[in-house]
């Protein structure tokens, strides 16, 4: 075979491997909203739709840490956010209406609110292996009208091309969560 053919085969293998490793992130950014006006934001308690009762509580501080790492926005303390939640009679697992988003924005003096929902969290069977996995969605709502300006749904697991090839443990649930949050935020910043 000619060297050119070998190159094509190698390229095909490489693309297949990359496709296998690619994070599954679907996102939306509102085309008519300029995010430049957002300086201060709050992260509200995440919804938990998974069977793990602490999944949302674990994911929210990871999201907060990753959001701070972007150095794009100032974030109000989640303690103050929870107090404002309580004063408005909101529960952690209730989706926010636009009116509630506006009220929260006024109470916390923020221009945007980040929400999140953990849809799947824990171990997942992939072929013959068990890997840690997470599926979650995140949104950013602006507090003038309560409109959603960004949404991302991300699904990640602890498997990798090299792990499939050579074996090894799955990445920890914590690492998988961190990567998922990072992938989601990369679609915004």
């Amino acid at each position: 075979m000619e060297p050119r053919v070998w190159k094509r085969i190698a390229l095909a293998f490489g693309l297949a491997a990359l496709a296998g490793c690619a994070p599954q992130t679907v996102h939306f950014v509102h085309p008519d909203v300029d995010l430049g006006f957002v300086r201060r934001c709050a992260v509200v308690p995440f919804q938990n739709l998974s069977s793990d009762r602490f999944a949302a509580a674990r994911l929210q501080p990871v999201f907060l840490a990753e959001l701070l790492q972007t150095e794009a926005l100032a974030v109000v303390d989640p303690g103050a956010t929870l107090v404002a939640y309580g004063r408005l009679g909101l529960g952690p697992d209730t989706p926010l209406t636009p009116e509630q988003v506006v009220a929260l924005g006024e109470a916390l003096e923020v221009q945007a609110i980040f929400t999140g929902a953990v849809e799947d969290y824990g171990q997942r069977r992939s072929g013959g292996d068990q890997t840690n996995a997470i599926t979650a969605s995140f949104s950013m709502l602006e507090t003038e009208t309560g409109t959603m300006v960004w949404n991302a749904q991300v699904s990640r697991d602890g498997s990798s091309f090299w792990r499939k090839l050579f074996g090894g443990d799955s990445a920890s649930q914590y690492d998988v969560s961190r990567r998922a949050v990072r992938d989601a935020l990369e679609s915004l910043f």
Binding site: F54, P61, A80, R178
Partner: protein, 357 residues
């Protein structure tokens, strides 16, 4: 003429019995002398001893006896190191008057009461009584300022005939370690709040708070405020110490001069585990949860008390699997060691240059 042979076991048992018989006399004598010899004008030290996770499985110690022995030994060790402990009845009176049931919340009223009773320092010790051992966690703090002077931990076995001696020795070691760890501290104070647990009981959270204090004190020369004093001040104003709002942060800034508050959450990684909070003094029939800690994650955030904004956030994940040593040896970890290791990693991460915003 043949001399009668001595039985070494009997002689050792006799000696141990004699020491055990004399021990209460010795321990009572120490503090009594020190209380009488307390110099006027020099503040005394109030000794507060609390028990957590108690009542399980030991079968060796009467808990009231253990508490009394601990208080005597701590007061005696303080007296021997030159401090003057507050008399036990005065301490009990203060505890009853201000309803101090555990070392987690120390209200401003209680601290003022200490001052009026002539106590300027507090020695707070938590005993975690387990299946076959006792863990001691202690800290000393200034009553007037709420600043921690030192924090240290120790442990001893609970079993056999000599457990009283082991326990007494551990109490003395703890007081010595606390005295050795005291060093001058300056600058704006660090304000760590008590660790907020999710899926863990109050005793585990208390251990985690102690580990946080030890990590902070070991790392910095800045003054460190006591989490129980901060929690008590917030609670006295009707603010939830676990999640202070803007007014709570302003209180920390105004009353204690803290530029930032440090908040740590400890969340279980076990999806099925939930531990109901129980009265620490109540006996329990099951294993004490602080002895069987599960994998967990720690989440730290630093909050600016002036603006209410999060200035830094860090996490660490901690597995509870035994560490594999050389030649296939398995090194088991106690929950305290696991939590302490994770807390040190967390605090180190939060101090990395370039990461703090």
């Amino acid at each position: 003429m043949r001399r009668p042979s001595r039985n070494p076991f009997l002689s050792r048992t006799g000696a141990a019995a004699a020491v055990l018989a004399l021990l209460p006399c010795l321990t009572v004598a120490g503090p009594a002398v020190a209380q009488d010899a307390a110099p006027d004008g020099v503040g005394r030290t109030c000794v507060l001893l609390f028990m957590a996770g108690a009542g399980y499985g030991s079968g060796v110690a009467d808990l009231a006896d253990l508490r009394a022995l601990g208080e005597q030994e701590l007061a005696g060790a303080l007296a021997r190191s030159g401090d003057a402990p507050l008399p036990a009845d005065a301490t009990l009176d203060l505890q009853r008057r201000f309803r101090v049931r555990d070392g987690r919340l120390l209200t401003p009223l209680f601290l003022a009461g200490l001052d009026s009773a002539g106590a300027q320092r507090l020695l707070i010790v938590h005993l975690y009584v387990g299946r076959d051992g006792i863990e001691l966690a202690g800290r000393t703090l200034r009553a007037a300022t709420g600043l921690v002077e030192s924090a240290a931990s120790d442990a001893c076995a609970l079993g056999g005939d000599a457990w009283r001696i082991d326990f007494a020795t551990a109490c003395r070691r703890l007081v010595a370690a606390l005295a050795a760890a005291t060093r001058p501290r300056t600058g704006e104070p660090v304000a760590p709040l008590a660790v907020h647990p999710l899926g863990f009981d109050a005793a585990t959270a208390q251990i985690a708070t102690q580990c946080l204090l030890e990590a902070v004190l070991a790392d910095t020369v800045r003054a460190v405020l006591d989490p129980a004093v901060l929690g008590g001040a917030l609670a006295a104003e009707g603010i939830d110490p676990r999640r202070p709002d803007r007014s709570g942060l302003e209180l920390l800034a105004g009353s204690f001069g803290a530029p930032e508050a440090t908040m740590v959450e400890m969340i279980t990684r076990d999806p099925d585990l939930i531990v109901q909070a129980t009265d620490d003094d109540a006996p329990s029939s099951g294993p004490a949860s602080w002895e069987t800690v599960r994998s967990f994650s720690l989440h730290l955030r630093a909050v600016d008390t002036g603006t209410g904004l999060v200035t830094a956030a860090f996490d660490v994940d901690q597995d509870n699997r035994p560490a594999a040593g050389w030649f296939g040896n398995v090194e088991s970890n106690t929950p305290r060691r696991l939590i302490a290791a994770a807390m040190h990693r967390l605090w180190d991460a939060s101090r990395q240059p370039g990461k703090v915003r």
